[in-house]
């Protein structure tokens, strides 16, 4: 499938990450957005509100983030590709509905333009403090997918990818932006509609008798129907069987949760995405994501100029985490250096995968700006002294 040309503003633009994210969503086929204003994400919904009347989309500003994060799920069951957009405090309010989306296998995209927290924190300044919340913030066990763009161009590209993954796997997908990427203006190239690959959800159209809407079959992703198609489905956040009926037993819980985890875990090779540079023969690999990957580059260059062998692995998909690759690297390098705009979150995943086989060094930052390359350089040098 290719994008519908009606929503695609083909050409080279000089726009910020928030606007670019909105364009990506429209190109991906998103036609319903519910949101609530919060800095620094508001420009995304402002652009949706501006553009939607001319492309067959509906934007509604709800009364809060809780309402926004469930309205999109109602719309998803009405047949739409949907998205909500927020920042830290609003993301906290949405947590219950991330769990609901995971449990009911409702395709939808959550955009979090991260700012420094906790609480009101620094509303106009960047951070990456919601990375663990994106993965674990709702109660219980479930899996999600999270992406981390490092430029306005990627805000466009990865928003499309977020929709595609969400439709393919029927999971909530988190677009983990940050204030810097969201407000930074750069060149964004929007291709022609026929060059944009779009994934549509697999719809069931078979007989109504004995249809089991949550029977996933082998690929672990059930086919979907929408309200009004005549299948008279039941969708519940309670533990449910393949018919979608509440079935609060240990066995059903075990079977359902295992599948919800497995459909991401066993498809991880298809979902995981990272970019590597010079990791072969490297003594140190910097593991970064989002805006932090850009401050890592000058640090790595400076380290190389000093004769150090340093590579770079940038997580494009942060969740699921590229366990296999980090485990491999840990066997070959002396150290892994993890700069993040938080006091240490993804570094715990890196440590888990490294399992003591190499030195793992966190480069924390409480947020408000990005790292200075010299801080990352110092960590690279220090990481080698440690061994």
């Amino acid at each position: 499938m290719h994008a519908d040309p009606i929503g695609v503003q083909t050409g080279a633009h000089f726009i910020d990450g928030d606007h670019s994210c909105a364009e990506g969503a429209i190109a991906a086929g998103c036609r319903f957005v519910a949101g609530y204003p919060i800095t620094p994400s508001t420009e995304v919904v402002e652009r949706m509100a501006e553009r939607f009347p001319f492309v067959g989309g509906i934007f509604i500003q709800m009364e809060d983030e809780i309402a926004s994060s469930i309205a999109i799920q109602g719309a998803a069951w009405g047949g739409k590709k949907t998205m909500t957009v927020t920042s830290g405090p609003g993301f906290s309010l949405m947590m219950e509905h991330i769990g609901f989306a995971a449990m009911t296998e409702t395709p939808c995209v959550f955009v979090d333009v991260q700012r420094a927290g906790p609480s009101t924190g620094l509303p106009t300044m960047p951070a990456q403090g919601d990375m663990m919340q994106a993965r674990w913030g709702s109660h219980g066990d479930y899996s999600i997918i999270a992406l981390s763009p490092n430029s306005p161009q990627e805000c466009f590209d990865l928003t499309i990818h977020a929709f595609n993954l969400s439709e393919r796997y029927r999971v909530p997908v988190m677009m983990m932006m940050d204030e810097c990427v969201g407000h930074m203006i750069e060149r964004v190239v929007i291709p022609e509609a026929e060059k944009i690959e779009i994934v549509e959800r697999k719809m069931y159209e078979g007989p109504k008798e004995n249809f089991q809407p949550f029977d996933a079959g082998r690929d672990m992703v059930p086919m979907m129907v929408k309200a009004g198609d005549g299948y008279r489905i039941h969708v519940t956040g309670l533990t449910h069987d393949e018919r979608g009926y509440p079935n609060m037993t240990v066995n059903t819980q075990g079977r359902l949760i295992q599948r919800l985890m497995d459909k991401i875990r066993l498809n991880a090779d298809d979902i995981v995405m990272y970019k590597e540079e010079d990791v072969k023969d490297a003594d140190v690999v910097v593991v970064s994501y989002g805006i932090t990957s850009r401050t890592a580059i000058p640090a790595i260059e400076q380290a190389k100029a000093k004769g150090l062998k340093v590579g770079h692995l940038r997580l494009v998909v942060v969740w699921p985490f590229p366990e296999k690759r980090i485990k491999e690297l840990a066997r070959h390098v002396k150290s892994l250096v993890v700069p993040e705009l938080n006091m240490g979150q993804i570094v715990y995943e890196v440590e888990r995968c490294a399992a003591g086989q190499c030195n793992v060094v966190s480069v924390p930052h409480a947020g408000g700006t990005v790292h200075q390359p010299k801080d990352i350089l110092a960590a690279i040098e220090k990481s080698l002294r440690g061994k």
Partner: protein, 298 residues
Amino acid sequence: MPEELYDVESNVPANPIEDLLRMDRIPHIWCPGCGIGTTVNCFVRALQTSGLDLDKVSVVSGIGCTGRVAGYMRLDSFHTTHGRAIPFATGLKLANPELKVIVYSGDGDLTAIGGNHFIHAARRNMDITVILINNMIYGMTGGQVAPTTPVGATASTTPHGNFEETFNLPFLAESCGAVYVARWTAHHVRHLTKSIKEAVAKKGFSFVEILAPCPTLFSRRNKLGDGLDQMEYYRDSSEIKNGADTKSVALDFQGKIIVGKFVDKVRPTYIEAMNNHYKAKYGDRYVPSDEMRKLNHA
């Protein structure tokens, strides 16, 4: 009893509302004497005679005893999170305006945790029907005080008696902009059926409050007897006053119950307002959603 209502093989009379229930989920979880089942019966009969294409009807519930209604309806049904049935319904309706979207939930769900959504959906005149079962208590969690618990009644979290002012729900709904507001009790099955039928036929935000007994947690704790005693109270203390000023219909503990259709008016619904606004402003440049276009051509 007419012949067609018999299941020929078992010779057991078939229930006339079976075709709209998920019979494979019966028996239901509600207690003996609970009023929710009676309201579901009225709801089904209202739908059966509504003339609606029932494949295009969705029921959305929140959490709680009444929240389980969605799960028993053989309709597209959504059992959402606590308090959030209305915003879910909002998204569903906007995505496909061809659907008749009915929220069916309890007093605690819709007016405490979900109160903000209730007032904004009414303000927007969102095109949904809200059926609220008021049993004056949180049933599912074991009888805690609700915004609807009358002053003087006791609940597990007001063991010394409730002293908080009680919500007057018809007044709340009208003040926020609902175009149809009615209140009945589980005793008034004919009036209620007719009222639900009117509410679902109404364009915009329609609201029906139904008083229903909770014998297990409200009546017993407050020494009001069983379900039947509450039904007798409804019968003896209700007064039908159609068009009553909603300011005057507040409930108090075992006091008089004013029932009836209080509000039935017309104002542009959210969807009408949206389409009219964009058409007036942008003419042919406005592109309504695919579903909206299909509906307008039908």
